[in-house]
Amino acid sequence: MPELTVVGRPVVRKDLFRKATGSGQYTVDLELPRQLHGKVLRSPFAHARILHLDPGPALKLPGVLAVVTGIDFPVGYWGSHIKDQPPMARGVARYIGEPVAAVAAVDEEVAEEACQRIQVEYEPLPAVYTIEEALAAEAPLLHPDLLRYERNPQVCRPQANSNVLNHTRIRRGEVEAALRRAVLVEEGEYRTQAQEHVSLEPSACLARWERDGHLTVWSSTQCPFIVREDVARSLGVLTHRVRVIVPDVGGGFGGKVHVRLEPIAALLSQRAGRPVKMVHTRYEEFIASTVRHPSWIRLRAGLDAEGRLSGWQAEIYFDTGAYSDSGEMVSWQTALGGAGPYRVGDVAIDTYAVYTNKVPAGAFRGMGWPQVMWAVESHLDRLARRAGIDPVELRLKNALRDGDETVTGERLEGVGLVECLQTAAEAIGWGKPRPAGHGRAVVSVMKSSAPNSTASAVVKVNEDGAVQVVTGAAEIGTGSHSALAQICAEALGVSYEAVEVTAPDTAYAPFDRGAVSDRTTFHLGDAVYQAALMARRQLLEVAAARLEAAVEDLELEDGILSVRGVPERRLSFREAARLSYVRHGGPILGQGRHLEEEIVPLHPETGQSPRACSHYKFGAQAVEVAVDPETGMVQVEQVVSGHDCGQAVNPLQVEGQIQGAVAQGLGYALMEEMRFEAGQVTNPTLMDYPVPTAPDVPPIRAIAVEVPHPHSPFGVKGVGEPGIIGVAPAIGNAVHDALGICLSELPLTPERILRALEQAGDSRPGSRTEIPAPWDPE
């Protein structure tokens, strides 16, 4: 490969000047003439039939211009791979906080007051709040029409007459027999909590419905094209009527994938004949925007005499709340991770997404892998202790390497796991003496990418030689625009400065799935790369005609096109761009796409597939903690996070992504927990739901282990997600290392640690978790 000149350099992002000077423009900052403000009336019941709804009193309030309710929308549902969610409750409300009506008024206060005047009569219905309740034989069904919803059967397999909206199965070999043969079998049960994204900019949108039926929506979203589809479905209009524009976005982390307020603002705007802006309060972010799926995970793993994993069984349940949002994708993706990044011999994995009467859970950095890896990596340390093997050694012995097969039977290449584990272990001082009360741990990290993720991009060269990349990628803070500019510049042979990535606007940009599952650098990066190559080819053709040379004899470097070996026969990039207009009647216009032809859906019974998703990412997480046995407080002293990011596009951004993800993982591991009582969030404020502040976060050593991806432009991979995945199990295992207590439930609060210490005092360390329910593998 020729030497890279732009990719791999720590270039300064172009959006930072405006952000540093306070002139970044976010959706919350937008204002249109005659704009109204919308507010939502939300269900106070976790499950209730809406018997009667009277908007009359609200409409009488001066300053109110429109009121809409569920029945004002055409019957349209949205969702990722199963379309189960209406824009507003229609007949039935399924969680506390679900929109049942909305008002547009001259200001927020009037709109709020008008909402309170809307009269609603409910008939409460029996509700389920936990996975166990939802799975019980006599459980009330949240979605009696579950099998009638439109869905993608390759990813979403609901179970009839149940609250299970997806079940993904993986089977290889005979797991029962393998476990019988094992010299040691460890069973365990793990639980994780709901986590809120806490993007600093809340969900927000501004909708303007024109009288001719066209609709423009400005949205704080990660996925403009998903928002376009959701809005069009909700309103029963064609997508070309809906234009979605994305200004700067103040954080996403998976919380801004689907619509929240957009269809409601749009309908209000149509009714009022004026633009309508809607912004969630922080409270609404807690009670009515998606959260990370709580989970319940049961593992059984066997070791053979050589310390090799010989059988692995996992049963994984995700609580997806009242609607799927992305629950089917979370449960699908984590089936691939049910045994972590290990060669496990015979295997049986079942993942389920289950409806409950709570705020919907959705995408969140890591897509279920942080939950599953909490269980897998905690379990690996338990196995290591039982077997008397060093935990790092156990991992290295069983780690996936090049040429190994995953649990779905896919042969892997470009696996950087062993390097990451060794690097992290070395950096944390693994095996070196440690102070009393301190503990260390090293865990593996793995993450799948989303399947069938198409992407497209256009690269155009203006008449003055300026290059524009037109895509649907929102810049949510990850630096994706500068990464795409670097990829384009490198492929085209121009400088980073010459390339601009335009803000997404669905009216002009080609389709893209959005900034989720780390796909922007990899999937969209490939599309941009292809587009840049096409543009380059066109430039060379223009130059060839002018220089009277064959295209093959030309080279393009540093913005100069010249005949190889005859440098005086040359044309500047700018001249070529201008010539394209003058001589060829139009701009240089390259188009690129990323298509995953080789991806094969998982076999419905065995989950086997030669290629389940575009790629996997590997890494390792190491920590050192100090635990105070008197208070149960965990102090994280050191963090080392090593991730195989492929060829790093921008080392500074790679570090920033890892550090940010680790900090979110620290919150998840130690303090963040949404608490519920009968479906109601009981701590919906930043006071009662603290997130890490600067003193809570220790220095984080981010290490990029660059194992280039064989099929991506320049070998790049995404690295936004993996940093969060290993933090919780690393801390849990390090706490065990320090105090000898086994923890199975997140977050690791002082209360839980003190309780575990008490129990350990009763029954001495090494005690195994008892599994209460009978184990039923099939």
Binding site: P10, V12, R13, D15, L16, F17, R18, K19, A20, T21, G22, S23, G24, Q25, Y26, V28, D29, H197, V198, S199, L200, E201, P202, D248, V249, G250, G251, G252, F253, T281, R282, I476, G477, T478, G479, L652, Q653, E655, G656, Q659, G660, A661, V662, A663, Q664, T685, L686, M687, V691, T693, A694, P695, V697, P699, I700
Partner: protein
């Protein structure tokens, strides 16, 4: 009722109720959008501004309380292409991701460096504890503030 505020060195008259939050007066009344709304309950710091040089959360300061005092927002610390050394350090260090917390963070840093021109890492972390950042994990923010302190110490800026 008209309020008279001194914002970024200029005297401003705004027709607003003095019992409204200062943040609303800045954003809705004066169109200064750099101070951002993140929680409105004094927990996130996105709305931080300087009041007589002290960091305050503009969402919980009543506009009337700012009457006759010096308000500095992110728009007031530099102009044109020239940046305050703290801003340059944030950009160079990659201490900005989504940027929503950045104006508040920069102002908090400026007030820290006025109190303590050579802060330790621990002092920096403690000082910005009222400013949440959900993107960066704080590390590059802390490094940027330390770098700005060093630059100011070298005489790299005339703002401090």
């Amino acid at each position: 009722m008209a309020l008279n505020l001194k914002v970024n060195g200029r005297s401003e008259w705004v027709e607003m109720d003095p019992s409204r939050p200062l943040l609303e007066v800045l954003r809705e009344g004066l169109g200064l959008l750099g101070a951002r709304r993140g929680c409105e309950t004094s927990y996130c710091g996105a709305c931080s501004v300087l009041l007589d040089g002290q960091v305050v959360h503009a969402c919980t300061v009543l506009a009337g309380m700012a009457d006759g005092r010096e308000v500095t927002t992110i728009e007031g610390i530099s102009s044109g292409e020239a940046l305050h050394p703290v801003q340059s350090a944030f950009i160079q260090a990659g201490a900005i991701q989504c940027g929503y917390c950045t104006p508040g963070m920069v102002l908090a840093a400026i007030s820290l460096l006025q109190h303590e021109p050579n802060p330790t890492e621990e002092q920096i972390r403690q000082w910005i504890r009222g400013n949440l950042c959900r993107c960066t994990g704080y590390q590059k923010v802390v490094a940027a503030i330390a770098e700005a302190a060093a630059a100011l110490g070298r005489g790299g800026g005339n703002h401090a």
